[in-house]
Symmetry: C2
Subunit: 196 residues, 2 copies
């Protein structure tokens, strides 16, 4: 039997009160597609006692190690505390991309980046056009490439043959909707060593 593609689950689920259950549910979906999750709470092990600082450093070290060991990384890029994806998730996705791992990504916010910037960062005020670029009311430029987040994320996925999965309309609960995640998993399974 061919070895299963191992997958690191990156995402801000760790910040949710039911994060553990959500991550386990996503792990079960990976397994149902013939993939092997490597970052479930059970595999993270017990953290050694220490100061908040040393514990933080140890979590980072373990996460980097798991990304290195995995064959793929699937990232939840749903915006977190702002107009863009969680920066810890982005760090892990990029780390995996640089190491040549297979990557996949999804977001449960249906809006393109430009609209989120307009409504979530600037209260709905329209950006203005000047010299072929789009500018927010505070005179910062707004990327206008039709992408779902900063171009390094969306185009980084695109260049590696990965779709940035997102729903047609906003799901009732962006953190607990599993449709886009499942689509990203199916894509990854199709590109995996056991896939077609």
């Amino acid at each position: 039997m061919a070895p299963r593609l191992s997958v690191y689950l990156a995402g801000p689920e760790v910040f949710l009160p039911d994060g553990r259950e959500l991550i386990e549910a996503k792990g079960a979906i990976l397994r149902a597609h013939g993939l092997e999750p490597v970052s479930l709470p059970a595999e993270m092990g017990t953290l050694p006692a220490g100061t908040p600082w040393t514990v933080g450093v140890e979590i980072s070290r373990r996460n980097e190690e798991l990304v290195k060991r995995a064959g793929a990384c699937i990232a939840n890029l749903t915006p977190f505390r702002g107009v863009s994806a969680d920066v810890g998730t982005v760090y892990e996705l990029s780390f995996a991309a640089a190491l040549g791992k297979k990557i996949a990504a999804y977001s449960n916010d249906p809006r393109p980046y430009r609209d989120r910037v307009k409504f979530d960062a600037y209260g709905g005020e329209n950006p203005y056009r000047c010299q072929g670029k789009l500018w927010a009311p505070d005179r910062t430029m707004v990327e206008d490439h039709g992408m779902r987040d900063n171009l390094m994320l969306h185009a980084g996925l695109e260049s590696r043959g990965a779709t940035f999965h997102s729903p047609q309309t906003a799901p009732e609960d962006a953190w607990r909707h599993l449709g886009t995640f499942t689509a990203a998993v199916a894509e990854l399974a199709g590109r995996g060593p056991t896939g077609g």
Copy 2:
């Protein structure tokens, strides 16, 4: 003469109206420290005509190529449109870290991540403590490791011997203050192939 350490400048300066001048000024500081900037506007070349989408993909491709070619990456992690660093900058910093490049970083926001979350994301409302963790009013967990941003960023720097430089007090203009950048450059120069 030993070759100069080449440095990729990552940061949201590209979104500022005077971004070009700011990046040139930072390039001059790199050169004054014996380092070689590789991502100045002049080196980025002219972009081919295309749709916004294809132009975005080409920018991403060129940036990844420049990070790969550089010996180091220095990242401006000053919060951008939210409580955390610009996700494009984080993508580039992590990409460099994964490839084993030297990394350095700075932010011109003096506050730890926890305080930015409290004041910038939740209007100053105090998070509450439950089961040893800190929770925001919307029941999302707030990292409390004494770090300057998500632990993958700060601890990722720490594990590689890099300081997350930041000012004691907020500078008058967070985007144009050069003190913390210069401190990060000096640190990088000290670790460079021509450094002590």
